[in-house]
């Protein structure tokens, strides 16, 4: 994957680059907001990691101009503030995720993987994580090459979880996306469906965690 890192602290930038290199990503680094913005106009990346306070041009400006251009590249914000500006993280054209400094590199790598995966399938139609391969076109998921035989609804559900890695989804969210209006599913049905999917995904890297009273959150176990 091709990643652009925009960070003006060189030491931090280097350690992040080292780590992401080790994960097998190609990573470019920019220290200046203005230059980074120019670069983003001409080159396409799979993921942008950026600080908010940058020389030249603020991260918020870059984010806004990218979204204004229709550039939907996933963006992960690195911020030193634990109080996140609502304009940065939002469903409407904001960043996709944020992480607070000081950054735990393992956590950062996991977030990057999650973000890349959320989108990766849409381009190649194939989602890979560890021993799991999911082909969106043929709707077949395999673990260690063995078809786990997903039914239609389970495929939809898996797509939703993959598209929302590390985000809490309520049962209502899932029901809205998987069922049509006239089907009016019971929450029980949703629970059963998740349980079945979880069983089929056992042995793979995707973990569907139940948060009782809140919903579900999918994440990928550390590789």
């Amino acid at each position: 994957m091709r990643i652009l890192l925009i960070e003006d602290n060189e030491t931090l930038a280097e350690t992040i680059m080292d780590r992401l290199h080790a994960d097998g990503h190609a990573i470019d680094c920019e220290y200046d907001g203005e230059l980074a913005n120019d670069l983003l106009r001409h080159k396409q990346f799979d993921l942008v990691l950026m600080d908010v306070n940058l020389p030249g041009r603020s991260g918020f400006d870059i984010l806004r101009s990218m979204r204004a251009r229709g550039d939907a590249t996933p963006i992960l914000i690195l911020t030193a503030r634990s109080e996140i500006d609502d304009r940065l993280i939002g469903l409407d054209g904001g960043a996709d995720d944020y992480i607070v400094k000081p950054v735990d590199l393992r956590e950062l790598a996991a977030r990057c993987r999650a973000l890349i995966r959320r989108r990766s399938g849409t381009a190649s139609n194939q989602f890979c994580a560890g021993n799991l391969v999911f082909d969106r076109a043929s709707k077949v998921a395999t673990i260690d090459g063995r078809d786990i035989e997903l039914r239609n609804r389970e495929v939809q559900l898996l797509e939703i979880f993959i598209g929302n890695l590390q985000r809490v989804l309520t049962k209502e969210d899932l029901a809205d996306k998987v069922y049509s209006f006239d089907e009016a599913p019971s929450m029980n049905a949703v629970e059963q469906m998740v349980t079945r999917l979880r069983k089929k995904l056992a042995g793979g890297p995707i973990i569907l965690k139940t948060i009782r009273g809140l919903g579900y959150i999918a994440h990928i176990a550390d590789e």
């Binding site: 634990s82 109080e83 000081p102 956590e107 809490v168 965690k209 948060i211 009273g213 809140l214 959150i217």
Partner: protein, 464 residues
């Protein structure tokens, strides 16, 4: 506080209201005096007119040719006592025949001769004139008719008399008023002197002086002094807290960074690669601790800062708890933890609480962090939201090691960790509770871990 203008001055206010009161009294008294003085002047000068009229009437006789009059000198002299005034007179019979005097003197309407004196004021010959009409019935020798004396006198002397009375009285009144206001001024100053004393004490105070104000105030000001002294005490406490906090922070951060530096130095000097690896692993752990410490210190400072600067917002309680909890969970996915929320407020859009969302997030995050740091996997963190009466309960249970009951008060203090922790987590929770005027209770969870209960007051009604 060098400027004393712009705000209400007590002294000015009191003086103004007193002055207005005095002015009203003065004006009403003056009106009274004026009418009294006029009456008094009329009274005395009317007597002169009456006397003269009486003297003249006495000299009217019936003669065979009709009534006749001989004006006595004394009568005119009597009226002439007022030197600057002009005098008019006319003596006439009931049918209007003038016996002597000016014929064209004005008469009041519907005058019927009577032996009672009739006074009236009118304008005559270019001046204000007061007239007297008095009649006498003359009878004898087959004659019987009224003879009327009309005497007029300009008002100059009586007006001067009334004015003089008036001016004297008002001068006296003004003097009394000024003396009265002087007393008021004196009284106000006396009454305000304790306040001025307080002001002086505060103005000359050194910024480091936190001693209470020493003054024996009158009853009315005593509570003010007490409040000021209370404020001074609170400030002192807050400053002491801040200083202690800074000292603690400095100590903790330096110690932590010192340990890190030591580990790295030791690692770089190690010739043995295995030993070096061990040191580096330790340094990593130490870094993690330092980061956690720094985050908590900043979080604590932020909570306190927000308490001073950001007002609480009216929010749907359960929504905030859910949002915040979902956000925190994302950061702890790599730990084997069972998270849950049990709410008796599900779908309750009516229960509002004044909240600082960031504060609630920091409190919950620290509780989760504590559980994972101090407990053993698999961890368990359960949130329970409940409403009883006018209160919302936020209960957080974990399956950690729990806290001994005797330690409850201590652990809420800063840097009071029982084991390897920073000792900040629960003090942050306590600061958050304080900020929300929420009661904070510690107890034992069903799993033997710690139970933290925060009791928030519910906001009623639609208004924020």
């Amino acid at each position: 506080m060098n400027k004393r203008v712009g705000h209400h001055s007590l002294r000015q206010r009191l003086l103004t209201s007193m002055a207005v009161g005095f002015a009203i009294i003065l004006v009403s008294i003056a009106i009274g005096i004026w009418s009294y003085a006029r009456d008094a002047a009329n009274h005395s000068y009317d007597r002169l007119l009456s006397g003269a009229a009486f003297a003249i009437l006495e000299r009217t006789l019936v003669t065979p040719t009709g009534p006749s009059v001989e004006i006595p000198y004394s009568a005119l002299e009597l009226i002439g006592l007022a030197e600057s005034d002009r005098v008019f007179y006319r003596i006439f019979t009931a049918n209007g025949e003038t016996l002597t005097g000016s014929e064209n003197l004005p008469l009041p309407e519907h005058y019927n001769p009577t032996d009672q004196p009739v006074f009236f004021d009118t304008h005559y010959s270019g001046e204000d004139v007061r007239f007297l009409l008095q009649g006498r019935f003359l009878a004898g020798a087959g004659y019987g008719d009224w003879v009327v004396v009309q005497i007029g006198q300009t008002r100059i002397a009586r007006d001067a008399f009334a004015r003089e009375m008036m001016i004297n009285a008002i001068a006296l009144l003004l003097l009394v008023t000024v003396i009265g206001l002087g007393f008021v001024w004196f009284g106000i100053n006396r009454a305000l002197s304790p306040l001025i004393g307080i002001e002086r004490q505060l103005r000359h105070r050194e910024p480091t002086d936190f001693s209470p104000i020493v003054i024996t105030p009158p009853r009315e000001v005593a509570s003010l002094t007490r409040s000021i002294n209370g404020l001074i005490l609170r400030h002192k406490k807050s400053l002491d807290n801040a200083q202690a906090f800074i000292a603690d922070v400095a100590h903790q951060t330096r110690t932590s960074l010192g340990a890190l530096q030591g580990l790295l130095e030791s690692a770089s000097r190690q010739a043995d690669v295995k030993q070096q690896q061990v040191r580096i692993a330790q340094a990593e752990e130490q870094t993690e601790r330092t980061i956690r410490l720094t985050n908590q210190l900043l979080s604590h400072a932020m909570i306190i800062h927000r308490a001073d600067n950001k007002p609480l917002e009216r929010k749907v309680f359960i929504d905030v708890v859910r949002t915040v909890f979902a956000e925190i969970i994302r950061d702890y996915l790599k730990y084997d933890t069972d998270f849950s929320i049990d709410s008796e407020l599900d779908g309750d859009e009516e229960t509002f609480v004044m909240l600082d969302e960031i504060g609630i997030r920091e409190a919950l995050r620290n509780l989760v962090d504590n559980t994972i740091k101090h407990g053993k996997a698999p961890h368990k963190i359960g949130i329970l939201v409940r409403k009883t009466g006018g209160k919302c309960l936020l209960i957080v249970d974990d399956n950690g090691p729990g806290i001994n009951e005797q330690m409850y008060a201590t652990v809420l203090e800063r840097f009071s960790s029982m084991s390897s922790g920073s000792g900040l987590g629960l003090s942050i929770v306590s600061a958050v509770a304080d900020r929300h005027h929420a009661e904070l209770r510690l107890g034992q969870s069903p799993d033997g871990g710690l139970r933290v209960e925060m009791v928030f007051p519910v906001v009623e009604g639609e208004q924020a």
